[in-house]
Each structure stands twice: as C-alpha cells, then as structure tokens.
C-alpha cells in the first residue's frame, strides 16, 4: 500500500511539494504505548526494554522533574503542545536487524527511498536507522569493530556496555537541565551510542537516519558519544518525517565527551515536516587540546528550539559551530549556539546564517560566556540573516557574559534583504529573478554547505531551490 511519492502535499508548508511526505501503514507495529504520559507508561517503557533498576529509577525521577518544571517563556510558541495527546513509545519490529534483506519490507522500502543502501556503499562505516522508537537496522564494518569502536543504538549500549554507559550517561546534560531534557530522560528510546578508543581515527562519517511515522508519535532519541584521547569521529544525523495534520514532538538529547587531543564533528540536517515540534538539547564537553564542531542545518519542522553547546573545559580546547536556519511559511526556527569558556587558552567560533521567507521566522539565540580565570580566550561570533520578503521576520538574541579581562571577544550580526545590485547583475546575465535569488541564497549559506558530506550538500542545495521556488513567482 505504498503511497505515491508526490502525494500528501500540505498546503500550509509552502515549500512546493514535500517529496518525503509519504508514510507506511502503521498496523504492523508490534507495540504502541497508549497516549499520555505518567509513571505507568514510563515504567512500562523500562520494563519492555528490560532495563536495570537504576535506569528505571532515573526515568521516574526525571518524570517528576518534567512535571514540576514550567514551559519556557521565551523562544517559540509551545502553547498548542498537548503532552497527554502523544504516544511516547512505539516499537516497529521485534528484533534489531543486521542484514539489509532481513528488514521488514515496508520499512526497507521507506529507507530505499531515502537512499540508505547507496549511501552505505559509498561513504559509510555503519548505519543506524531508527524507525519509530527502536533501531531496526544496523551494520558495522568489521575493521572498525576490530579497533574497538562501538557504534550501536543507545538501548543496546546500556545492555552490552553497562559500565561505560553509566560512567557518562547524564553527566553532560542532567535531567534537571531543562523541561525537555527531563522529558527525554524519562521516555528516551533509541539514538546512537558511539565510543571511539584512544588514538582511533575514523576517516568516514558515521550516519543515522530517523523517521517519525505514526500519527501523534513522539521521538525521543538519546545519543551519547565518547571520543577518547587522540581519537576522531564525524557523525552525521539527518531526519525526515511524513506530513501529518496533528502534531509530532521530537525532543532529543545529545551528550558528547571529547577527551584530550580528540576531535569530534556532529553534523545534522533537520528536515522534519511542518507539523513537528523539534525541541532538542545538545551539548559537548571538550577537554585539553581537543576540537568539537557542530554543523547544524535546520530546514524543517513547525518549531525548532535548539542551541548546540560546547563547554571548553581545559586549556587548548576549541569549539566551532556552523548553523543555518531556513524558515518558510508557518515555520519558526529558533536556533543558535552556546560556547562556555571554562579554562584558559580556549577558542570558539560561531557562524550563523539564517533565511526567512513567506512569513517564516528565523531567530538566532546564542551565548558566549567566559568564566573568571579563563585567561587568553578568544571568541568570535558572526550572525547574518537574510529576509526575503516583507511578511517574514528575523531576530537575533546573542548573550555575551565576560567575567575575565584577558580575553578577546567579538560579536557581529546583520540583517538585510538580498542586495538589489547582486540581483540586477545576475538577471542582466539572463537568469530569472527566482534563479538569481536562489543562487544568491546558495552563496549565502556556502560556508556551511561546503562542510557537509557530498550527498548532504546536494540534498541541501536541492532543498533550498525547492524553498526558493515556492517564494518567487
């Protein structure tokens, strides 16, 4: 009962055709928790996963915290979110597959459309595909496994690597950190767990795909990445979701520990359909002489609130975040970056590019903080925003808190529309206004796109074109 690839166009999106707006029938699901959120549901999740007592207790304390905390009064509009009207756990297939051919057919077909097998052949070391709440398919190339790299789903890691797991889980983002971290801590399911041993450098990106399929489904993956001393890894996360009229909630938590001399890059291209609330807490702790990079692309969702953070914990640590947000009709991208300098001789850089069109709202929200004693730090933040038409809106809310004198801190931001001179120049050379605008916007986001793996760069540019087509003419 495959649906047509071009079906399910949601008029509200204004993107033209949402080519990933398809879904598979959900009656084949093995288990779906009833809607709503309470101690019973949380205990049920823990029991179904056969978790140790400490994790069940952790979830239940987190649930208490979630109920006590108020919704944030800043950022996007969360008033329409009804927490009791969501399924918090859906398990699509009974076992985790290793071979592509063993995966249930409609699930496989979904991933075929998303191009996973080709991707694996060309680029990948291993793929974790999250369909609904359980990781259905995974494979890890043998040589990485031999080097001691662990790349698995978070549930399996809790079971198979309990000491390693428990040592780091919840240390970067405690349950109490914010309301949505508490929610995730209570109902988390799936996500990636990566451990890279000392000195191991993985040359190609590790990838994961996520999907939300069932109506009113919530996605609460929990990712934990530990890069041991001198090691290096690049992790790529990209998501799609079908188009539905009722709300979907994606509230993930990503914790990353980058030890002395290690490197980690985490790339996300978020392209949820326009009914999704995407409320994510991502934070990395970078130790001596390490490098942490966030490459964060926000194209989809109804509302995204996400501020990848890097705590520079020891001297020599460096952090860089490249962020792009595209807000189309009915969308609010409230994104940004946080850098906290906790030690001397640390360096951070944030480059944020945002575009708003057709009434969309793009907001940058960020923090550059230097604690007392963090001498000789440098932080540089550049935020550029393009507003493409008079219906759209752009905001910038940077916070700069400096408690140390021996620093160099620079921040600049600008908001403008496409330069008429540039447009004129390109149109004089035969391009239509739409083509010229599209080209200028592509150039605007180029610093980020050039950091993406090739297929993502292609997908990104194609998506931008789609967005632009919807806006002009």
């Amino acid at each position: 009962m495959a649906t047509d690839m071009k079906a399910t166009v949601d008029e509200e999106v204004g993107v033209g055709e949402y080519q990933y707006g398809f879904h598979d029938p959900t009656d084949k699901y093995v288990f779906t928790a009833r809607k709503g959120l309470d101690r019973d549901i949380v205990s049920q999740i823990s029991a179904m996963k056969e978790e140790p007592a400490w994790m069940r207790d952790f979830r239940l304390s987190a649930l208490d915290i979630f109920f006590k905390k108020p919704l944030p009064t800043w950022g996007g509009h969360l008033g329409d979110l009804n927490f009791q009207d969501i399924h918090y756990y859906v398990r699509a297939s009974a076992s985790q597959e290793r071979n592509w051919d063993d995966v249930p057919e409609d699930i496989r077909r979904t991933y075929d459309r998303l191009g996973i097998p080709e991707a694996e052949k060309k680029y990948l070391a291993g793929v974790k595909a999250q369909y609904e709440s359980e990781v259905v398919y995974g494979s890890l190339q043998e040589d990485l496994a031999k080097q001691g790299v662990i790349f698995t789903d978070t549930d399996s890691a809790l079971r198979d690597n309990p000491e390693l797991f428990r040592e780091y889980f919840g240390t970067v983002i405690p349950s109490n950190d914010n309301k949505f971290a508490a929610l995730n801590s209570a109902v988390w399911s799936g996500g990636s767990f990566i451990y890279v041993p000392k000195g191991v450098k993985i040359d190609f990106p590790l990838q994961a795909y996520f999907r939300i399929n069932s109506e009113n489904m919530g996605q609460f993956e929990r990712t934990l990445i530990i890069v041991d001393e001198g090691a290096s890894v690049h992790y790529v996360e990209g998501c799609t979701a079908p188009t539905y009229s009722s709300e979907s909630l994606h509230s993930a938590v990503v914790e990353i520990i980058v030890k002395r001399g290690a490197r980690c890059r985490y790339t996300t291209i978020q392209n949820w359909s326009s009914n999704v609330y995407n409320l994510v807490t991502k934070r990395a702790m970078a130790y001596g002489d390490s490098l942490m990079e966030w490459v964060d692309g926000n194209l989809g969702s109804k509302l995204t609130m996400k501020y990848p953070a890097i705590y520079l914990m020891e001297p020599g640590a460096r952090g860089e975040t490249l962020s792009i947000a595209f807000a189309g009709k009915g969308q609010h991208q409230d994104a940004g970056a946080k850098m906290v300098h906790c030690a001397p001789n640390t360096y951070s850089r944030i480059i944020s590019k945002s575009i708003s069109k057709a009434g969309g709202r793009a907001s940058y929200r960020g923090l550059a903080k230097v604690v007392k004693g963090a001498r000789n730090c440098k932080s540089n933040v550049v935020c550029d925003a393009l507003i493409l038409d008079h219906a759209s809106r752009s905001d910038t809310y940077p916070y700069i808190e400096i408690n140390e004198d021996d620093v160099t801190i620079e921040h600049e931001a600008s908001v403008s529309k496409i330069s008429e001179d540039q447009l004129f120049y390109l149109m004089a050379r035969g391009l239509s206004e739409a083509e010229a605008s599209s080209m200028i916007v592509t150039g605007f986001i180029e610093p980020l796109v050039k950091e993406l793996p090739m297929e993502y760069a292609v997908e990104m540019n194609r998506l931008i074109e789609l967005q632009m087509e919807g806006s002009v003419g």
């Binding site: 809106r393 905001d395 700069i400 808190e401 004198d405 021996d406 801190i409 908001v415 529309k417």
Partner: protein, 445 residues
C-alpha cells in the same frame, strides 16, 4: 556594611517608605490641583499592583535588587538648602538658562530674557504645571514614559517630586546650551525628578543635565524619568551625566520619541551610583527621523551599571545608531541589554548597535546582549559587541616614553572612549566626560 539611615539633626523627615500611609501624607504635603492628585492616585494603584507581580526577567535578571530596601528612603520634606555642590558641567559652558533641584526641591530656575520672549519655557515642573498646564499636560507621561510600564515607572508617576521642563515653540532655535542639575544632599533622601523636553516643529535646542551628590558617603535614591519629545524637523541634543556618589540607587525610565524628519542626539554618562538601572527607549515615529545614542560608562569598586535600551522603528526611512562604551575595574559590573525592533511598515530602516567593553581588572564583569527583531525586509541592521582588556604592550610602550603607569592607562582609556567622544557634538560635554573619567582613574583629584 549595613547602612543605618539617620536624619541629620534638626531636619524634619517624613517616615521612610512608600506605603499607602506615606503616599497620603505625601499627597497632602504637595497641595496640588485635583487633576494632578488624580493622576498620582491612579499611578499609585498601579504601583501597588505591580509590586505583587515579578519584574520582567529579561530586563532584571542581571540586576540583583535584593539588597535594595526602599523603606530606608523618604521624599524630603525639608526646605531645600542651596547646598554647595561640586558639579561637572555647570562651569564648562555659557548656559542660556539653568534649572536645579536639590533633594527634589527647586532651587534655581533661570532663563535668558530673549528666549523667554520667544516663548521658550525652561523651569521647574511644579511651577510650569501651574502656569502652563495646557501646553504641558497632554505630553506629561502620556507619550514617552508611561506609568503602566512597570512598578518603577508607576512608582515615579505616583511620587514625582518636580523636575526640569524645556519647551521650545515652532521654529525657534536655542543656540546656547541649557543646564539642569539633579542633586542629592542629605542622607536617606528619595528624589523623583522628572525631565520633560518638548520641541515643536522645526525647533532646536541643547540640554545638558547632570546628577550629583553633595558628599561621598550619603546614601540616596533616585527614581527618575526623562521624556524627550522631538517634533517634525526638530533637533534635540540631550545629555545626562549620572555622577552620584557610590551609595545612590538610580532607577530610571527614559524615553525619546522623534517625529517625521526630526533628530535626537542623546548622550548618557554613567560614572556614579551603587546600582543604576536605566530603561532607555528611542522611538522613531515619523518617516525620515533619526536617533543617535552615545553611552560612556566607567564602573569601579562594586558598582553595577545596567542599561536596558530599545531602538524602535515605526516608520520608513528611519535611522538609529547606538554606541555604548564601558570601562570596568575592580569588581564592578556593567550590563547592557539592547534591542533594535523594526516594525513591518519601517522599510528602508538603518539600525545600528554597538557595545565595547574594556576590562581593567580580573574581577570585573561585562554582559552585553544586543538584539534584533526585524519585521520588515528592506532594511540594513547590524550590531556588534566586543570585550577585552588593555594591551600590556601598549602600556609598556607608553611607560618607556616616560609616562607613569597611571598616565599610560589614562591615555589608553581616553583612546578607547574616543570613538564615542567623536560623535558628541557639544565640546563642553566631551571635556566633562573626559575629565570625569580621568578623575575616576585616579589621575586628578
């Protein structure tokens, strides 16, 4: 450490605090017409309501008011003594008029005859509300500073004690600057001075205002307001140099509104106060209007100077340009939180904001939070913020050339402030600021 407020011997003080009983006593002592009392009562109602609500977290998150005890202060009921005041600006220019208030009481109000004959009003708010009600009433706390804004504006609207009024009629140019002083002399006094400036179409004027304390130890409270209403094609230069001692609490709402093709140049100096929080708003209401804001602050000891600024563009082809430069030392703290808001109709807006902080010690702290909320597309808006310290090499270089460390530091701080001094058109103000900074650095006494 804990401060006991004792009225000087022989002075009569109202019971300190601002409860209903004190408000009634205050009203009675004013002897004002019903229309003023009514306004005060309405404001007092709002004040009581707002006290029960929390303060706006975005505005006050970094301003810790827990050590602030309003009940220790009282509006002065004594007759004003023309105290000997050490002022910064007063002697530096030939002023065409001067208005002074000490402890909330009018002490001086003079204006050159020539200007008075042209219809210029410059004097004390209490007096002028009696004689020129019809000119002033429509503008007083209705267009710029609103009593309902928060508990501080409501508090001021209930208890305002007096203040400086400047009214310039159509097409009149007041070439020489005018002077205004807000002084605190006795301990424990609360001053609620209100500055009201109205420039009609095509008018032009310069008002230089300063605040000062008679001694270095007396505590004081200033809950003030400044309203600057610039008419079409009019031009106003306004300076407020806040130079209290380090024991005064300064809470103020200051707002300017500029009509079509008008321009406002507003300079803010922040030197004194134990804690100062200024909510500063500039609204570009008419097409072609412009507003330039300059800030020079120097915080030392345990001062906290906080500026919450807004540049709001409501009409097309408007321009705003804000530059705040702060120097910090010891354990001082400066917070600047600024927003440029461009409404959908304000196409072809140019909006700029910049804040630079120079940190002279390891324990001081600078928070800079610029902001942009843009609802129009054909605009150019930018903001920037920097923070850093004095380059050790620069000091070394100066000292090699025979300057003492102090002198070297002073040169560098002067150089730092130059970017904003250059924007201030009034020579006397530049000199005054430079002198005040020098004194605070410890060069001059």
């Amino acid at each position: 450490m804990s401060t006991a407020i004792l009225p000087p011997a022989g002075e009569v003080h109202a019971a300190p605090g601002f409860s209903e009983a004190q408000f009634e006593a205050f009203l009675e002592s004013r002897g004002e017409p019903a229309w003023i009392s009514q306004r005060r009562r309405a404001a007092f109602e709002v004040y009581r309501q707002k006290l029960a609500e929390p303060l706006n977290p975005e505005e006050f998150k970094r301003v810790d008011l827990r050590a602030f005890q309003p009940a220790r202060f009282a509006v002065s009921s004594a007759a004003a003594a023309p105290a000997q005041f050490e002022t910064l600006l007063e002697k530096r220019a030939d002023f065409a008029g001067a208005v002074s208030h000490i402890d909330g009481r009018s002490v001086v109000a003079r204006l050159d005859d020539k200007l008075a004959r042209q219809g210029v009003l410059f004097g004390s708010l209490c007096e002028l509300l009696k004689t020129k009600r019809e000119i002033l009433e429509p503008h007083l706390m209705s267009r710029a500073v609103r009593p309902e804004a928060d508990r501080i504006s409501a508090w001021h609207a209930a208890f305002w004690t007096g203040g400086t009024v400047l009214f310039v009629p159509r097409n009149v140019t007041v070439a020489a600057p005018l002077y205004s002083l807000i002084g605190l002399s006795s301990a424990g006094v609360a001053d609620f001075s209100h500055t009201l400036v109205i420039l009609e179409e095509g008018a032009s004027a310069t008002l230089l205002e300063e605040t000062g304390s008679a001694g270095s130890e007396n505590t004081g409270l200033h809950v003030g307001a400044v309203e600057l209403l610039v008419g079409a094609g009019a031009n106003l230069r306004y300076v407020q140099l806040q130079n209290w001692n380090h024991h005064v609490w300064h809470l103020a709402h200051q707002a300017g509104a500029v009509a079509r093709d008008g321009s406002l140049q507003w300079t803010v100096g922040g030197i004194g106060a134990r804690l100062a929080h200024i909510h500063q708003q500039v609204t570009l209401e008419g097409a072609g209007s412009s507003g330039e804001v300059n800030g020079v602050t120097f915080a030392t000891g345990r001062q906290l100077l906080s500026y919450y600024t807004q540049q709001t563009h409501k009409a097309p082809s408007t321009r705003s340009d804000l530059l705040y430069k702060d120097v910090l030392r010891d354990e001082a703290r400066v917070v600047w939180r600024g927003m440029i808001r461009v409404e959908a109709e304000a196409q072809k807006t140019d909006g700029y904001q910049r804040n630079d902080s120079l940190l002279l010690s390891a324990d001081c702290r600078a928070d800079a939070i610029p902001g942009l909320e843009i609802n129009a597309d054909d605009v150019r808006c930018t903001h920037g913020a920097t923070a850093g310290r004095v380059d050790a090499d620069q000091i070394f270089y100066c000292m090699c050339r025979g300057l003492s460390r102090y002198e070297a530091m002073h040169m560098i701080v002067e150089g730092f402030f130059h970017g904003v001094y250059d924007r201030i058109a009034v020579e006397a103000v530049r000199e005054t600021l430079s002198h005040a900074v020098k004194r605070k650095l410890g060069i001059e006494r």
